[in-house]
């Protein structure tokens, strides 16, 4: 149940943008792989046929990209029956996938998406620009996915039946990133009008849904008319939701399943010495990963005082927390960007553990607010044992610095609602795994920070004009160096503002029997290599085969 709960704590819209890497040019990203190289299989000829069973960490609520939330399991299921317009290559750039080309105008305010010719949905209907226009317009109206692409002004048909024109409100350089995930999956608009559409996916994907019994299994068989000739290699694939991570690990060890993904560091421990299994994890992934942190409500007392927030940062021994709660396996976090492989990561100047400095800042706070004003606030988390351990440890550390904290466990959906409404002091949180920081605009922009009681997507309610300017630069500049500098400056601003007390990074692991090939080392339709590691536990099943 641990992973379910951890996943529940992750509230980033991971599905809206495929959680992907975007390493600096030419740097070959590779997940940390143990147990040999059979998973990568660089020189082997793929063998068609066979079946794999994959244990996934949760169940999805459906297949309709505009209505169902695609977390990593959702993306996995969706990529089985749909194809995205774009995906990531091993050069860490966005490449067209179902689209033949995605081209901007000179000012990046108009994007032209051209589909590959002769595509058909699995129901036999041809895929045309009318479908892409209908899909994107449905996303714009969707309460679930609309917010992420609200910078789109219009989506209209282009000059021929394969071309779609997307006009944006402002220059939007990283727009294609949004076509790699939930918004980019092309589905038949018939799903929108069918009341049961979310359960009957109609896409162009490598497999066709055969049977879905929610909570038990999702079985898909090979699409005989798939547009990428020779793919998929497997005859069928089965996904089994196994929410308890230890059970998932045992299932792989026992040979009940062939592949699993997990965001629980326990998996790395469980499978470390198991023979016949390869592990690929994020320890050396060259891309973004989700950060775990304590989010502080800067919109209300006492955490509206930056002195107290900085004291909390100095009072937090991140290494001890990481060692105690997560076996010391994930990387320690010092900002919103992964410090292992993110191109946006640089020294942030985030305060390290220093109890003396923390106590001095607390004294400074007390002096400012009155000698008897011992800083006191509520530290919230969700109802899980692991999270209770975490906040108890933080309570003790912060108590050592003279900060009094009471712990409150809150039900998951109420937790999100409280964060939205600002009805909290400090909450444990997991977010910011989007491959391009532009997707974080919503969470960091001052315009989305509202007072307590009003809904605010800037949950921490941190207002900083420099961050706003950097976000605009990141969105509108076509110069990657300028963008990188802007986002690095945001990380530095966070180190001073301390709206987030960083803890550690999320560690995703994909583990498979040694007979399973093709998770790494696959090729894009244009012949260039695809991204060479699972992205937040997600990879394309179309290229997997049984050796």
């Amino acid at each position: 149940m641990r992973s379910m709960v951890r996943a529940a704590c992750a509230v980033a819209i991971v599905g809206l943008v495929a959680t992907a890497c975007s390493s600096s040019g030419g740097k070959k990203g590779s997940g940390s792989s143990s147990g040999g190289s059979t998973t990568a299989a660089p020189n082997e000829t793929p063998k068609p046929g066979g079946k794999v069973i994959m244990g996934v960490e949760a169940e999805v609520d459906g297949f309709l990209p505009t209505a169902n939330r695609f977390d990593v399991t959702g993306l996995t299921y969706a990529s089985t029956v749909f194809d995205p317009l774009a995906t990531y290559g091993n050069d860490n750039k966005v490449h067209p996938y179902l689209a033949e080309s995605i081209t901007p105008n000179a000012t990046y305010t108009v994007w032209t998406i051209k589909l590959r010719p002769n595509l058909t949905f699995t129901n036999g209907d041809p895929v045309t620009n009318a479908d892409v226009v209908a899909d994107l317009n449905a996303h714009l109206k969707s309460p679930l996915t609309g917010a992420a692409i609200s910078n789109i002004a219009s989506v209209t048909p282009g000059s021929d039946n394969l071309t779609t024109v997307v006009t944006t409100k402002t220059p939007w350089v990283p727009f294609p990133v949004y076509l790699t995930g939930q918004v980019g999956f092309v589905f038949s608009p018939k799903m929108l009008t069918d009341p049961q559409g979310s359960q009957h996916p109609i896409g162009t994907g490598p497999f066709i849904l055969k049977e879905w019994v929610p909570g038990n299994h999702f079985i898909a068989t090979k699409n005989p008319n798939y547009w990428q000739k020779g793919l998929p290699y497997l005859d069928s694939v089965e996904y089994r939701p196994i929410v308890e991570s230890t059970s998932r690990d045992s299932s792989l060890s026992a040979g009940t399943i062939d592949i699993l993904h997990s965001s629980d560091p326990q998996t790395t421990v469980d499978l470390k010495s198991t023979s016949g299994i390869n592990q690929i994890n994020d320890l050396s992934t060259k891309g973004e990963v989700e950060e775990g942190f304590v989010m502080l409500n800067t919109g209300k007392a006492p955490l509206d005082d930056v002195t107290l927030r900085q004291a909390l940062a100095y009072a937090t021994d991140r290494k001890k927390v990481n060692d105690t709660i997560d076996f010391g396996i994930p990387a320690i976090s010092d900002g919103p960007f992964g410090n292992v492989g993110s191109p946006y990561h640089a020294a942030t100047g985030y305060p390290g553990f220093d109890l003396t400095k923390a106590k001095a800042l607390v004294a400074q706070y007390e002096q400012k607010h009155g000698v008897s004003a011992v800083p006191t606030f509520e530290l919230g988390t969700t109802n899980t044992g692991r999270n209770l351990q975490l906040v108890s440890l933080l309570q003790q550390m912060w108590g050592d610095a003279g900060i009094k904290v009471t712990i409150k466990q809150v039900e998951q959906s109420q937790y999100i609602l409280n964060a939205l409404q600002g009805k909290y002091d400090a909450y444990t949180w997991r977010q910011f795994g989007e491959p391009d920081p532009d997707a974080d605009n919503t969470w960091w922009n001052s315009s989305n920070a509202a007072p307590e009681g009003a809904l605010s997507l800037n949950f921490a309610r941190n207002k900083n004009p420099k961050i706003d300017a950097d976000l605009a630069t990141g969105r509108q500049s076509s110069d990657q160096a300028t963008r990188t500098a802007a986002y690095q400056d945001i990380a530095t601003q966070f180190a001073t503002d301390v709206p987030y007390v960083w803890i550690n990074e999320t560690l995703w692991t994909v583990a498979a029997k040694k007979s399973v090939r093709g998770i790494l080392n696959w090729t894009l339709p244009d012949g260039t290599p695809g991204v060479d590691h699972p992205i937040g536990g997600f990879f394309l099943m179309s290229h997997v085969w049984q050796g």
């Binding site: 169902n68 917010a147 979310s198 929610p214 308890e244 026992a254 939205l420």
Partner: protein, 319 residues
């Protein structure tokens, strides 16, 4: 005629019980913090989006209206649709119930098959070596929680020896062999805990029965100990066992969630947990209704069994 009258009376009693259960459970679920719309939308839950989802799901209506709408549909067999995946509750229960029933029935049969002979032996030689060893083992199983026992069984029988699958469920209709292989470990997990309860209960009742005058009389008549145990002591000692095993059956219909989660079985228990976490009210209501009906029917069946166990009840018309 008596039996028919009895059946009629029991079914009439069922209606207010079920009504009360559904009202209370509906209110309790509504009182819980959380909002399905926020669960569906996640962090992008703006005020407008939440309102839109509320309207779509009918959650903007007053609670009594929501309840009466649900009740109106429920009496016609329509338990509504899941907010999460749009699957009908009836369909979800139809898919899940056979898994849970198989798990419960097999585990309870196994538990009784272990507990009854052991209790007979232990009671016949109360204080002896077998009694002391079986009591110790029973206390051991009572003390070990299901989730520990399950994990240990998985480790030895699935991970180390690959004798049984660690997780998953194959329908009996698809492959009887695979179905039974998959059920061995979860059934054993539940059965080992249950048999300890049954063993302790039956042993105690048997020892008390064996001290009755009519047992001494039977012994004086020269009847064998085995005959006395099976023919004269077992039946009157089974009241507590029947009551507890019946209640256990009812409780397990919604209470197997730990075992179902550990072994990734798609049963009613795991559905209940999933639905409660996601505030999927209509599915939770459907499960509550199912469990309530099961309880009432099982208690009814227990009452009937009493009449066969003890003729005094039948003749006195006590039920």
């Amino acid at each position: 005629m008596n039996a028919l009258r009895l059946l009629g009376r029991k079914f009439l009693q069922l209606i207010p019980v079920l009504f009360a259960v559904t009202v209370l459970s509906f209110l309790l679920i509504k009182l819980l913090p959380g909002d399905p719309a926020v669960n569906i939308l996640g962090p992008s839950a703006t005020k407008e989006a939440v309102a839109q989802i509320h309207q779509h799901l009918g959650l903007d209506k007053p609670i009594p209206t929501q309840y009466l709408t649900w009740l109106g549909h429920a009496v016609t067999g329509d338990l509504g649709r899941s907010y999460q995946n749009q699957q009908t509750t009836t369909q979800a229960l139809k898919q899940r119930l056979p898994v849970t029933l198989e798990l419960i029935v097999l585990s309870q049969l196994l538990a009784l098959a272990i507990a009854i002979p052991m209790a007979l032996i232990a009671a016949s030689r109360a204080g002896g070596l077998f009694d002391r060893v079986s009591t110790t083992i029973a206390f051991g199983f009572l003390a070990v929680p299901d989730f520990i026992l399950g994990v240990v069984l998985v480790y030895f029988f699935a991970v180390r020896n690959h004798w049984f699958p660690a997780t998953g469920y194959t329908p009996f209709s698809q492959s009887p062999t695979e179905n039974l292989r998959g059920m061995v470990l979860p059934v054993l997990t539940l059965a080992l805990a249950s048999q300890a309860v049954y063993l302790r209960l039956l042993r105690t009742d048997l020892i008390a029965t064996l001290q009755q005058d009519y047992i001494s009389m039977a012994k004086a008549k020269g009847l064998s100990s085995r005959y006395i145990l099976l023919r004269h002591a077992l039946r009157p000692s089974s009241f507590s066992l029947v009551t507890v095993s019946g209640l256990q059956l009812g409780a397990l219909i919604g209470g197997t969630f730990i075992v179902e989660v550990i072994f990734a079985l798609p049963g009613v228990g795991s559905l209940a947990v999933q639905s409660i976490f996601s505030r999927d009210y209509l599915v939770v209501q459907g499960i509550v209704l199912l469990v309530a009906v099961a309880y009432v029917l099982i208690n009814f069946a227990i009452d009937l069994v009493y009449t066969f166990l003890d003729p005094r009840i039948r003749h006195a018309g006590a039920i």
